[in-house]
């Protein structure tokens, strides 16, 4: 290849994956995932539903459970003693992820632990379990405790809770890709006619009236039917259109190149616009439907949408605002 042609696609991809940046986004992702682990396990322990969900009939559960995961077999199966210990360790693991102690080892142990727990009863499992185990594997691949962590305070080069030490950026890119993959493929699989114009966009109307997921009484839903239709259409369009996120990142990375669409997308910050819709959608889902930790674990991925420099700018701005408020007489 001639020098004028520039580096090959492979070289450009390799260079991009070798990029380093502060670990702020990955650390926030880790904190969100840790909270998601807690949101998964603590309600099960507190409500007393643990035997029903995860224990074998011989130990207080309602059915015989045949679990093949190595960890559950190692602890002697889904017994009362093993599940009390494992769920307790899961709570501890969630806390360790939040405070950032143990680096990748904590993430690996938590990942295997949660995989074991989720394998016990697939009938009570959901998409959030899958997303959580994916997130935990990404944390194994990420140096996410390089900042905002006890690890950074105790073992970091400058022994500070905040550390600007650059780390590999590619786990953040993979997390963004994973998020886009979730939305795109879930949108592609919304083939029920309720999502389509010829089904009159009734999906949210039906979902909100399904007792399995209702958080509160939804007697008001029929009155707001047109609103649910608009929300159905927008949700589906946004999901199948989520690869636009990748386009937005491409445009941001090549902002020096010409093109009206590129300039417009960068000026309007297409990435942030898509994220705002997603955040509002998940908050709405969380408020109206009991889907366990689904919104929290998905929103944890959103932490990776912003570059660490943007977090640094936001932090400086917030600190300035706070100081200004404190100085006021």
């Amino acid at each position: 290849m001639s020098a004028a042609a520039g580096p090959s696609v492979w070289t450009r991809v390799a260079d991009r994956l070798a990029h380093r940046e502060p670990a702020t986004a990955l650390a926030l992702f880790r904190i969100g995932v840790g909270l998601s682990v807690l949101y998964t396990v603590v309600p099960i322990r507190r409500s007393g539903v643990l035997p029903l969900v995860w224990m074998d009939r011989a130990y207080g559960g309602f059915r015989p459970l045949d679990v093949h995961h190595w960890l559950i077999r190692f602890v002697g199966g889904p017994t009362d003693a093993s599940l009390m210990v494992l769920s307790g360790v899961a709570v501890l693991a969630g806390l360790l992820l939040v405070i950032g102690f143990g680096g990748r080892i904590t993430a690996l142990a938590t990942g295997q632990l949660m995989l074991g727990l989720f394998a016990i009863s697939p009938e009570t499992s959901g998409g959030h379990d899958l997303l959580l185990s994916n997130a935990l594997w990404l944390l194994v691949l990420s140096p996410s405790t390089a900042t905002l962590s006890l690890d950074a305070r105790l073992f970091g080069d400058d022994h500070a809770f905040f550390s600007p030490r650059p780390v590999a950026a590619w786990p953040r890119y993979v997390a963004i890709f994973q998020l886009v993959l979730v939305y795109t493929t879930t949108g592609m699989q919304k083939l029920g006619m309720e999502w389509m114009p010829w089904g009159h966009w009734t999906a949210l109307y039906y979902a909100l009236l399904t007792p399995s997921w209702q958080r509160y009484d939804t007697a008001w839903v029929p009155r707001l039917f047109p609103l649910t239709q608009v929300a159905t259409a927008l949700t589906w369009l946004w999901e199948v259109g989520s690869p636009l996120w990748l386009l937005a990142y491409w445009y941001r990375a090549t902002r020096d190149r010409p093109g009206r669409l590129r300039a417009l997308c960068n000026r309007l910050d297409l990435r942030a616009a898509l994220a705002i819709f997603g955040i509002l959608m998940h908050l709405g889902l969380w408020a109206l439907m009991d889907l366990g930790p689904f919104s929290l674990v998905t929103l944890s991925f959103y932490a990776c949408l912003w570059h660490p420099d943007e977090y640094a700018r936001l932090w400086r701005r917030l600190r300035g605002l706070l100081r200004g408020l404190l100085r006021r007489p």
Binding site: W10, V13, A14, L17, A18, P43, S47, G48, V49, L52, V53, R57, G61, F62, R63, G111, Q112, M114, S121, E123, T124, S125, G127, L130, S133, N134, L136, W137, W170, V174, F177, L181, V182, T185, T186, Q189, K190, L191, G192, M193, E194, M196, W198, T202, A203, Y205, Y206, A207, L209, T210, P211, S212, Q214, D217, P222, R223, F225, D290, L291, G292
Partner: protein, 215 residues
């Protein structure tokens, strides 16, 4: 090192993309025959007819079965090398969420027989019929009951009934039976629901468990 990292990251990305790619997982003749799926096929056939493609619901159903089965077989072969990795590290994919809505949802109803009369003690999402709702309304148990609402996992349903009977035998010494039903209702159109309310339910999977054997 740089190139090895690139290869490994791209392999991971390839694995998750292929694993996530939509597929009619769980496609069986029985699943295809479910009323909700048949309703969707009927509507899709009508939509295709409007576009000038006259297949009819039966031919469309047969076409979906044949194409879906072949696609699943090819997918199994393609994904085989990635499965062990995904299973071991927890990066399996599958994002079919709310793909098809249940337009005939069901509420779990639990009743107790005291003497000759049956008394309801629990109904999904009820504020007043709330026996052990701290368990039955927990999100994991909602997911389980949601399976029953689709009339799936009958064995688990019966086993849950036996477990609840054991609890009731201790807590209600005067009762002699417990009865579980799935109260299935078609969700009416918005105007109808607002004016007339919910239609009367069709009771599915009604089972009676004696409490005496647990005393």
């Amino acid at each position: 090192m740089k190139h090895l990292r690139t290869i490994l990251v791209l392999l991971h990305v390839l694995a998750i993309t292929l694993l996530a790619f939509p597929a009619p997982v769980g496609l069986t003749q029985r699943a295809l025959a479910q009323p909700e799926i048949q309703d969707t096929i009927q509507a899709d056939a009508e939509a295709l007819q409007d576009l000038g493609v006259d297949l009819g619901p039966q031919r469309l159903s047969a076409l979906l079965w044949s194409a879906g089965s072949r696609f699943l077989a090819a997918r199994r072969t393609l994904l085989a090398p990635f499965r062990p990795y995904a299973r071991a590290v927890g990066c399996e994919q599958g994002w079919r969420m709310f793909g098809t809505l249940n337009r005939r949802p069901a509420w779990l109803l639990i009743e107790l027989q005291e003497g000759e009369t049956w008394r309801p003690i629990y109904r999904s999402r009820s504020e007043t019929l709330s026996w052990h709702r701290q368990w039955l309304d927990q999100e994991r148990m909602r997911a389980q009951v949601n399976q029953f609402a689709w009339l799936r996992h009958r064995q688990s349903y019966d086993e849950l009934g036996t477990w609840l009977a054991r609890q009731a035998a201790v807590e209600f010494p005067q009762a002699n039976h417990i009865r579980l039903s799935m109260e299935q209702r078609s969700i009416p159109a918005p105007a109808v629901l607002e004016k007339d309310g919910w239609p009367p339910p069709t009771l599915r999977w009604q089972t009676v468990h004696s409490l005496d054997k647990f005393r």
